[in-house]
């Protein structure tokens, strides 16, 4: 018996939109798609917002997902504190670099930890993925396109496993994470290397691409 994914919500319910800007756009400036979406939302019930998200400017859905992935045994307090410490240390490093840099380079240095996090995640996302397909008794690694959510998941997973496994014994998680994020922001580091390895494998296995039937 295969396990089936189900939720307590009726599939009729739609996803909520907690951010405030969507509701501030006046009716005249909506595109056709947005108008159709609004009309649909007016008639359908909507799920409750999860407790990790709010409408404030400080809450970020990507950061919230990252916190959940970092969480172990349900300890969200610890996961969230690690992330805040990571952002704090990233900010400190960048501000130090900013003050030491000459006037010409000062504008190029990014100090906002949230933009660094988003850019680093974007740099870590693989474009093409590999899937194990069984054919004729053997398993082949077949290159395949990935959905947006799958790419984001892989990038976050690689970051977290990299920081958990390959660090010096006495370094804290937040130190290692901030190093990895800053390196990924500059397109260096082990996670970027892993992404490039994945792309090279996909290019090497191009011949098996037609094994995929969907």
């Amino acid at each position: 018996v295969l396990p089936v994914r189900w939720t307590r919500y009726n599939p009729y319910y739609l996803e909520p939109e907690p951010s405030r800007e969507v509701y501030r756009i006046p009716v005249t400036e909506l595109t056709d798609e947005q108008k159709a979406a609004q009309e649909l939302k007016a008639v359908r019930p909507i799920k409750a917002t999860p407790s990790g998200l709010t409408s404030s400017v400080f809450s970020d859905p990507t950061v919230s997902k990252f916190v959940n992935m970092m969480m172990e045994d349900g300890d969200k307090v610890l996961a969230r504190s690690i992330i805040t410490q990571t952002f704090e240390s990233m900010k400190r490093k960048q501000v130090e670099k900013y003050h030491k840099a000459p006037a010409t380079e000062k504008e190029g240095i990014e100090c906002n930890p949230y933009t660094i996090f988003h850019q680093a995640l974007e740099n870590c996302k693989p474009i093409i993925g590999l899937i194990s397909i069984q054919k004729g008794g053997k398993y082949y690694q077949v290159p395949t396109p990935l959905t947006d959510s799958r790419r984001r998941f892989l990038a976050m997973k690689w970051l977290i496993t990299e920081c958990r496994d390959n660090k010096h014994r006495r370094t804290h998680m937040y130190e290692k994470l901030s190093q990895e994020l800053l390196a990924a922001f500059m397109n260096e580091g082990n996670v970027i290397k892993r992404k490039h390895d994945m792309h090279k494998m996909a290019e090497a296995n191009r011949a098996f691409a037609h094994y995929r039937w969907w």
């Binding site: 307590r8 907690p18 007016a42 008639v43 909507i46 409750a48 407790s51 990790g52 709010t54 404030s56």
Partner: protein
């Protein structure tokens, strides 16, 4: 298979012998059909083909045409025999004639001899839907219900129906057409908004209740306040040391831009840390409905503030350790 049909003009001399001959011819035809069918069956079983997979027996167009010709000729013969006009001989006449000529003592009516139009005897078969190259003729073939979808969309059936309702004098057909329509209710009208209450000092206040995962909360939101929040008699900063819970308390106020304008007093029981925060959030959102315009109510609903969260702890099942976790698998 068709044996030579006796000439109707030669009826005159010996009608009895001729009748027997006609009966024999008709029965022979039935028998030969049965024999043929049995032959087909035996040949396929001899070759061990999968009979069920072949589907119902397929009759070619020529075979059915021949059967129709023979039926018509036989009908004329019957009419002659019964002394009626061959041109105006109906199916009822045929039935009466057969019942007269072939009296049967069988109780099962379906087992008695029957002479009907071949279209009623041989099952109707679908003409093949695709050409020689395997490409289907109809462009909606792969939907599975090609005639239904072509009716719905190519002939703009739905548009036609909607247009009928837009015309004047549509009230005659409206009831019939409404049977095919499902009323989509506007969800925001389902919210119960209680009117504001006023206490002794003319200050407006409102109550709300919320539940989340075994935690129940009741709140009183007062106007003209300065953002003080009291939970079970304790300040919210002491009751919820975690930032995430405090953010959840602030969520309804922050969404409506009323952060420092209200005072809140609430009582919570049951659940855990996060469940109590969620319960208070729902309760405050419901209390704030009385202070707020309709558009804001709709945007609150779309932000997910007014839906009670149905997620609860899944029960443990017998034979398993938890809700999903199974016992450790032992080979022996």
């Amino acid at each position: 298979m068709a044996s030579t049909v006796p000439n109707p003009d030669s009826l005159g001399s010996n009608p009895g012998r001729h009748l027997a001959h006609i009966a024999k011819v008709l029965r022979l035809r039935q028998l030969s059909a049965m024999v043929l069918a049995r032959l087909v069956c035996t040949s396929s079983t001899l070759q061990r083909k999968n009979i069920a997979a072949a589907g119902p027996e397929k009759y070619t167009q020529e075979f059915i045409k021949k059967q129709i010709e023979e039926f018509n000729i036989g009908k004329r013969h019957l009419a002659n025999m019964m002394g009626e006009d061959p041109e105006t001989f109906t199916q009822e006449g045929i039935d009466r004639a057969i019942a007269y000529l072939f009296p049967s003592g069988l109780f099962e009516k379906r087992a008695r001899p029957v002479m009907k139009h071949p279209d009623e005897i041989f099952p109707k078969q679908r003409a093949v839907q695709w050409g020689e190259d395997g490409r289907p003729f109809h462009f909606l073939f792969y939907t599975g219900k090609q005639s239904y979808y072509s009716l719905m969309h190519c002939l703009r059936f739905i548009q036609l129906l909607e247009r009928i309702l837009a015309l004047p004098y549509c009230s005659m057909e409206e009831e019939y057409i409404q049977r095919f329509r499902r009323a989509l209710e506007v969800q925001s009208k389902k919210q119960k908004i209680e009117p504001l209450q006023y206490d002794e000092n003319e200050v407006a206040f409102s109550t709300g209740e919320g539940r989340r995962k075994t935690a129940t909360a009741t709140t009183i939101v007062r106007d003209n306040g300065s953002g003080n929040i009291t939970v079970n008699g304790v300040d919210y900063l002491h009751y919820f040391p975690v930032l995430q819970d405090r953010e959840q308390l602030m969520f309804p106020f922050q969404f409506l831009d009323r952060l420092g304008k209200h005072d809140m007093e609430c009582k919570v029981t049951g659940g855990g840390r996060s469940a109590q925060a969620g319960a208070i959030r729902l309760a405050t959102a419901r209390a704030l409905l009385s202070f707020v315009t309709e558009n804001e109510v709709e945007s609150m609903r779309q932000a997910g503030l007014l839906t009670p969260d149905p997620r609860v702890k899944e029960r443990q099942k017998p034979g398993q350790e938890g809700a999903r976790r199974k016992f450790t698998w032992n080979k022996r």
